[in-house]
């Protein structure tokens, strides 16, 4: 049975997660948006089968888009929709990072978890296992927000 104390804790936890994920996306997004050339070089390393126009659009606009999503979460606007978008960004990005890490591990004859590189997330060079773990945690937290957590103090929870 949900006691008021438990549901209060769950509600406030949801707010903390919403603010935490929001702030993280704002920080990561802005750190790339303010240096898009660096991000362009990092995106290029993934060898995506895209035109130069699309590569530039991804590199130039995606960081701002991440910041936008972070702001929406922080303010509590369209929380479920934003969480779904963040999940939709994190999942393929994590796959790309793992793929790139496997390439590097093979090329440099390293153990998978020993691979360290700048994946383009905005945190500089990171060990791949830590990055994958971090992304999994973020995806879980976003999934939790998708279920309805984080309503309290939301400016406009739904459209």
């Amino acid at each position: 049975m949900n006691t008021p104390r438990k549901s209060g804790f769950a509600e406030w936890s949801g707010v903390a997660v919403r603010w935490g994920v929001g702030l993280l996306f704002i920080y990561m997004g802005l750190s790339k948006a303010l240096d898009p050339v660096d991000f362009l070089k990092l995106v290029r390393q993934y060898d995506l089968p895209v035109t130069s126009f699309l590569l530039n659009a991804i590199s130039g606009a995606l960081p701002w888009f991440e910041t936008f999503c972070g702001i929406l979460l922080l303010l509590g606007v369209c929380v479920r929709g934003t969480s779904l978008v963040i999940l939709a960004m994190l999942a393929p990005f994590t796959i790309l990072v793992i793929d790139r890490a496997l390439e590097l591990a093979s090329a440099k004859q390293l153990a998978f978890c020993a691979v360290k590189f700048d994946c383009g997330c905005g945190a500089g060079e990171v060990f791949i296992c830590a990055k994958v773990l971090e992304n999994c945690v973020l995806m879980l937290l976003s999934a939790w927000l998708l279920t309805g957590a984080g309503r309290r103090l939301a400016l406009r929870y739904s459209l």
Binding site: P36, S52, A57, F68, C69, L84, V85, S158
Partner: protein
């Protein structure tokens, strides 16, 4: 769920527009129409004055295919100490961004940030055209910005035989305890 999907679609639409606008108005934004990494056109033969270097084989092959000559550390030091440099018959070009350039560069080196050429080419091009040798460097290692800057100068009219790439880059220069100038070009402020 339908409502959530609708929210997501709205966020993606509005977010995409806002992001593209932000990139367009940002002074650091990327030009969407520019091909920053054009495919290289291999040159049929390497230039006769190509200097064999201790660079990784793939770097040497790539630069040779582009028709660029390379300079190793010793050749670069000799070039730096040559009287040609003082007469501006030999110039150094730093292909890194403002922050890296200001933190330290080869003394007297011109800056040419390949990703913002409109800010730098007007100053660099006349000097490069007048020089007999132009030595271009970036950070070293995997950095390809020196090659890209070299191609930009070549495509702007600098004779390719005058262009040299220093693959070791600033990382190698600074670890060899060679002079490092701080701040702007010819600031005369040197790292101690």
């Amino acid at each position: 769920m339908k409502k959530t999907l609708l929210e997501s679609a709205t966020i993606v639409l509005i977010g995409a527009v806002l992001s593209l606008v932000a990139n367009a108005v940002s002074p650091r934004g990327l030009k969407l129409s520019r091909d920053y990494f054009p495919k290289s056109e291999p040159v049929s033969s390497a230039p006769s004055n190509a200097v064999p270097v201790n660079a990784p084989a793939n770097v040497a092959e790539r630069l040779s295919a582009l028709g660029f000559s390379m300079m190793d550390s010793n050749a670069v030091i000799q070039a730096y100490q040559s009287p040609e440099r003082l007469q501006n018959l030999l110039i150094f070009v730093d292909a890194r961004d403002d922050a890296h350039y200001a933190k330290g560069h080869i003394p007297g080196a011109y800056q040419l940030d390949y990703y913002r050429p409109e800010n730098y080419l007007p100053a660099v091009l006349p000097a490069a055209m007048a020089a007999q040798r132009v030595v271009i460097y970036c950070s070293g290692g995997d950095c390809q910005d020196s090659e890209l800057a070299g191609r930009l100068l070549r495509d702007s009219g600098v004779p390719p035989q005058n262009l040299f790439i220093y693959p070791g880059g600033f990382a190698e220069w600074s670890t060899n305890n060679l002079p490092v100038e701080l701040g702007a070009k010819d600031s005369q402020i040197f790292q101690r």
